[in-house]
Amino acid sequence: MSGKRNVARILIEELAPFILLALVIIFFCILLGPRFVGAYNIRMVTVQSVVVMLAAMGATAVIVSAGIDLSVGSTLALTTVVISVVTRSLMASGWSAGLASATSVVAGIALATACGSLNGLSITLLRVNPFVTTLGTRFMFRGLALWIAGSRTIETGRDDLRFLMDISPPEAAKWLLVSPGVWIALVALIVAMVLLKLTVFGRYIYAVGSSEGTARLCGVRVGIQKLSIYIFAGFMAGIAGTMLFSYQNQGDPTAADGKELYVIAAAVIGGASLSGGRGSAIGTAVGALFVQFLEQGLVQWGVADPIQKIIVGAFLILAVALDQYRARRWGQG
């Protein structure tokens, strides 16, 4: 009997986010007809979830380590601004469009990574807790983006990066089936899964989040560990910001305001615990898709924006409540 219960337990534990995702898709299929899972719709929803999903890969590591990152949205905006400003100025000094774009992407990701380092340094050296640190840098990075951009959106006049986030893959690469951005997100997901589950570094992220004292006792240099986690989160936000730039095709210092909350919601729906030690990359990815499918379904059903927000919020609470129930019923882990 306990064997059967075990299997049920493992299934529910591992598959809970998938079940939730399947339910929402089935629900809207019944409601809206099979076009909800048609090729176009799938392409659109997956493209729209790319930015949150990429940023959430870094945020999962942060949350598993018992941290939090509220500065993600600002970092995304900053990245788009840097990419467009750098592209413009390089092209003004005679660089070719392709080279200018590539260099600007590197610059954008580098600055986002620097933002992550700043978070990490404040948390480890100044010993300001992650919530307050990233609340502060949330303002700082947004301010920096506005300052660099002169509080305006910045067009590059080109669309060299646009193909990354087109809803359909480019003509030359039809075999991709979905947008290149989706493939990038998929690669990031696999990297994050391996990082968290299968590397020494990843196991220590869980250790730090679950019991910092134990990590320290076992020779983990907790400060370095945390710093690295926030650098990784910044790097992932940089990639996500690049995708956001590609999607909007402009630098927008006001973009992605509040996006960090979607990122956190994705991780939590995917089974991460804000008190640390629990969470997975695949869960977070499914959580991100869940929110996107839910929103898209509601849009197509004709539900007004305010009501959508209410429903998404309610589902967030529901997901955590289910998780708590599971924990009480079957015990931790």
Binding site: V200, S210, C218, G331, G333
Partner: protein, 502 residues
């Protein structure tokens, strides 16, 4: 003043959780105005029995009588109303409120919804006065009090709600000697005024000092009870563990080799104060002392978890190989923390993770883990220490205390540490696992490892260690050969009475 009708009588009380029998046909009597010690190993059923008394758990069978009247509380609220006061290790106080506000919390006298501050103050002061001279100010904020006075505030609260039975659960485990004395004085006053006290403790020496009678629980049954004054301590221990004391400590002959750890004049931030010792291969060194004497700090300073002000530490003759934990691990030093839940184990992670923290090289390449290799290693260690669990992937929190401790120990063995520092390794562990841990320590010595065994329980040190040093106010005594010493001599060193005599 024993009366004919006992304050509390329990008859045939039974409770199971799923398939596990927690208490089974327990009869338990507490007289009015007595201090009754309830002793037993962890898992013996003490807390279940007390939860039944408080109303937190409904028994499956049996009946309870309070002063002769049937008593069957539905919930803790009813228990409190009938005069049962539970005082747990984790106290239920509002840290930001004053002492008097806490004493009257939940029972504030009020008129038409407005608090009557004068009345609150009077009640609180009366209750504090009943405790005797405790030096607690009623308008002090509770958060500023130490653990001892906080406990007294809880007792005062029990008095205000007219408690007939006060249950103290391991009350001294975090108290200094001075606070313990103060607590004992209060307990005696309570008993003298007719309140019954149920005193739960692991420290039998304390039980001997404070209690009138005792009841021993083992595996959910009462295995003995009687008057403390008429019962030797050995007898109580034998009842608790279900066997004679000498069988507990398997003696494994081992040889003492060359020095491996040399600590000289080590000063921590506060503790230790100039402690030094030389430890040899194949040696088990006990460190005895009261809680707060600096034993834990001594081990942590050696291991690099706490900053060191001055002093020299040499492992295997080398001094300059770094003193941080990750460097100590490389040098072959391992520490078992006294605080298993906070520092010893990441309890919501798996056995496999917890066992291999600190050393993942054997199953990883370029930082990437090979799960099958890891699984093999972990299964091997689980078998070697007979860790009973569902498998490497089970969360540590689902294991019993004894098996949890074995995971923490297995980790140090897996590190292949030559110097094994054990801080209260048998705390919160069932007797079976205790014996296994003693045997493990013996095995380590046989294999030429050096062990430092810190404990507050002298009999186990006498049973297992080659030499025993005592720590008193941060200073470490010269170790005594266990064979050539007596418990009294060690106790005198630990409490500093010998110094006073000299």
């Amino acid at each position: 003043m024993p009366e004919s009708v006992p304050r509390l009588r329990m008859e045939g009380v039974a409770k199971r959780f799923g398939g596990i029998v927690a208490v089974d046909g327990v009869g338990f009597e507490v007289l009015a105005g007595e201090v009754h010690a309830l002793v037993g190993e962890n898992g013996a059923g003490k807390s279940t029995l007390m939860k039944i008394l408080s109303g937190a758990i409904l028994p499956d069978a049996g009946s309870l009588f309070l002063d002769g009247e049937p008593y069957r509380p539905k919930d803790p609220r009813e228990g409190r109303a009938r005069g049962i006061a539970m005082i747990y290790q984790e106290l239920n106080l509002a840290h930001d409120l004053t002492v008097e506000a806490n004493i009257c919390l939940g029972i504030e006298p009020a008129r038409r919804g407005f608090l009557r501050h004068g009345e609150i103050r009077r009640l609180a002061r009366d209750a504090l006065a009943e405790l005797g001279d405790t030096g607690i100010e009623p308008d002090e904020t509770v958060g500023r009090l130490g653990p001892g006075p906080r406990q007294l505030v809880e007792i005062a609260r029990a008095l205000v709600s007219r408690a007939r039975i006060v249950v103290l659960d391991e009350p001294t485990s975090s108290l200094s000697a001075e606070d313990t004395r103060l607590l004992f004085a209060v307990v005696r006053r309570l008993a003298a005024s007719g309140v019954s006290v149920v005193y739960i403790s692991h420290f039998l020496e304390e039980v001997q000092e404070i209690a009138d009678r005792f009841t021993v629980l083992r595996d959910g049954r009462v295995v003995g009870s009687g008057r403390i004054a008429e019962t030797p301590l050995d007898r109580i221990i034998a009842l608790m563990v279900g066997r004679e004391v000498q069988d507990l400590f398997p003696h494994i002959p081992h040889e003492i080799g060359e020095p491996i750890l040399d600590v000289n004049d080590l000063w921590g931030k506060k503790l230790p104060r100039g402690a030094g010792v030389t430890l040899h291969r194949g040696e088990v060194l006990g460190i005895f002392g009261l809680v707060g004497a600096g034993r834990t700090e001594f081990l942590r300073a050696i291991y690099g978890l706490d900053p060191v002000r001055s002093g020299r530490i040499r492992v295997a003759g080398i001094e300059d190989a770094g003193r941080l934990p990750h460097e100590r691990i490389r040098q072959g030093v391992g520490l078992l923390s006294e605080d298993r839940k906070l520092e010893g184990l990441a309890v919501d992670q798996s056995i496999a993770d917890n066992l291999t923290y600190g050393r993942m090289e054997p199953f990883s390449r370029f930082g990437v883990i090979s799960p099958p290799k890891r699984r093999r290693i972990v299964e091997e260690w689980m078998a070697r220490l007979s860790i009973r669990g569902r498998g490497p992937h089970q969360a540590v929190s689902a294991l019993s205390g004894g098996n949890q401790q074995k995971v923490a120990l297995a980790r140090i063995l897996y590190w292949e540490a030559d110097v094994v520092l054990l801080d209260e390794p048998t705390r919160g562990v069932d007797v079976g696992s205790k014996v296994e841990i003693y045997r493990l320590i013996g095995d380590l010595a046989v294999r030429g490892k050096a062990v430092v065994f810190v404990s507050s329980y002298l009999p186990e040190l006498l049973g297992v260690c080659d030499r025993i040093a005592t720590m008193h106010r941060g200073e470490l005594s010269v170790p005594l050969e266990t064979r050539a010493t007596t418990p009294e001599a060690i106790m005198a060193l630990a409490t500093g009475t010998r110094e006073d005599a000299a």
